[in-house]
């Protein structure tokens, strides 16, 4: 036995040791990515001398910022409660948060006893291992596609290409069921517990799209926040019930 180091509870281990290491990795790689993203522009403009008027840069910045600023601020916040910090770092460097990282992370933890405990290192480790494989395979496929590109599109019939348009509804079904199921394979009780949150998310997005349209780029965050507010009410009720039970 290694002195009192091993006496940490999983939660203490998570907050004291695991999380700081996750942020060390996350921050370092995000800063590297930032520098390397700016580099091509710096190189082409200042070293190669390709002239681009400053006004054009500013116009592009303004055009993109005006619609993307809501996403920049709200998306990491919306994914964190679900993916945890390591998973969110994956999602916002390797990308494809909702189509690849989310389904993989959910399925990875769905069979664990601790699947609901986001402060347990085990849950994060399962997600990281599966996400690692998803990143590597995605890049390999992408590289192949980019290299053989047009040839592949020419071979595949239109009907096959059109079928890829149905990827997201399929993933949605997978995600909802994975989140509802317990480790013994029961689905309905979990689903009923989750239903209020699903409905509040749907309602929030509908309101943002149809009534409060000026908030449209914050739709995802508003959906998450509303669901969390509903969860807080349910949590308080459960606490009261528990206290009454004592």
């Amino acid at each position: 036995m290694e002195n009192n180091k091993n006496n940490l509870t999983p939660h203490e281990e998570f907050h004291q040791n695991f999380v700081p290491e996750v942020h060390k990795i996350g921050i370092t790689t995000m800063v590297l990515a930032l520098i390397l993203s700016v580099l091509p522009t710096v190189y082409f403009v200042f070293i190669k001398g390709i002239e681009v008027p400053l006004s054009a840069f500013l116009a592009v910045v303004a055009a993109i910022a005006s619609f993307a600023i809501g996403m920049w601020l709200s998306e990491p916040a919306a994914f964190w409660p679900v993916l945890g910090s390591a998973g969110t770092y994956f999602a916002f460097l390797a990308g494809n948060a909702s189509s690849m990282r989310l389904p993989v992370a959910l399925t990875a933890r769905s069979s664990l006893d601790e699947s609901n405990d986001m402060e347990h290192p085990k849950v994060h480790i399962a997600m990281i291992i599966a996400l690692f494989a998803s990143v590597v395979v995605n890049l390999a496929i992408l590289l192949t596609i980019v290299l053989i590109g047009d040839g592949l599109i020419a071979i595949l019939p239109d009907s096959v290409l059109a079928a890829f348009g149905f990827v997201m509804p399929c993933l949605l079904a997978n995600n909802i069921i994975m989140r509802s199921k317990d480790k013994d394979g029961h689905i309905v009780p979990g689903f009923i517990k989750l239903l209020p949150y699903l409905i509040s998310g749907l309602a929030a997005q509908w309101l943002v799209k149809n009534v409060f349209t000026s908030l449209s780029s914050y739709g995802t965050l508003i959906a998450v926040v509303l669901s969390i507010a509903v969860a807080y009410v349910i949590y308080q009720q459960d606490l009261a019930k528990q206290q009454a039970g004592k």
Partner: protein, 237 residues
């Protein structure tokens, strides 16, 4: 397409550097996970193999769904810039939109003689700029959230709010996605087919105890959902 041809080689060089960072992050996180796994023996070698297989197979469908848009993006801005952008954060459709915004801002169309090297550099800048703020907002927000969740979890006499928070956030996201992805009736066909397949696999695995099938769950569900929805839509047409 002269501009694209001229700069494509250099774009590939920058693309490779950025992709290396993506791989570096994945490997570094994996090393951390394996280190803790060794310390606490959470997962056997076999379990780790299952998790790897799950991650690897699940992305095949979504990765190919990017193909169509990625190819059109290559036609516009070249393979180097496409790989750089789609491999980092970018969903191909998002990058396509950004590239279009960038070129339209200065009033130039793709594929015309006016699409010079300057315009291509501007497009590349716009696509990078659309993701750069994530590299700043993500670490700041995550550090703050982890600090906050540690405070919340300190009171040991009360059950934690964190599991509620996780469930609510997840389902809030799903509900908000459902609004756009389930707006077309044909998408319900895909949704219900895939859902039925997942339920079938979950029930079968629970009964038989064979975990292996679970690794392929997303892939099988997706293939079935896509195939059935496509056949139905062709029959209706």
């Amino acid at each position: 397409m002269g501009a694209v041809r001229n700069l494509n080689g250099e774009m590939w060089m920058f693309a490779s550097l950025l992709i290396i960072v993506v791989v570096l992050q994945a490997v570094w996180f994996l090393r951390l996970a394996l280190k803790y796994n060794k310390k606490y023996n959470y997962f056997s070698k076999e379990d780790v193999g299952h998790l790897l297989k799950l991650g690897a197979t699940s992305v095949i469908g979504p990765a190919f769904s990017v193909v169509v848009v990625a190819i059109s993006l290559i036609a516009l801005v070249g393979s180097g810039l496409t790989f750089m952008r789609v491999g980092v954060i970018g969903a191909a459709s998002y990058e396509m939109m950004i590239a279009t915004i960038a070129s339209e801002t200065i009033g130039v169309q793709f594929g015309t003689p006016e699409f010079t090297e300057s315009v291509l550099v501007l497009c590349g800048f716009g696509m990078a700029f659309a993701s750069i703020p994530y590299f700043i907002s993500t670490p700041i927000e995550l550090v703050l959230f982890d600090k906050a969740s540690r405070q919340v979890g300190k009171d040991k006499n009360k059950p934690s709010f964190m599991p509620y928070l996780g469930n609510a956030a997840m389902m809030g996201l799903m509900g908000s996605f459902a609004l756009s992805y389930l707006s077309k009736p044909i998408n319900w066909v895909a949704f219900i087919t895939a859902g039925a397949v997942v339920i079938g696999i979950v029930k079968y695995t629970a009964k038989s105890g064979k975990k292996g099938l679970m690794d392929w769950c997303i892939t099988i569900a997706m293939l079935c959902g896509m195939a059935v929805a496509q056949v139905v839509s062709m029959m209706m047409a």
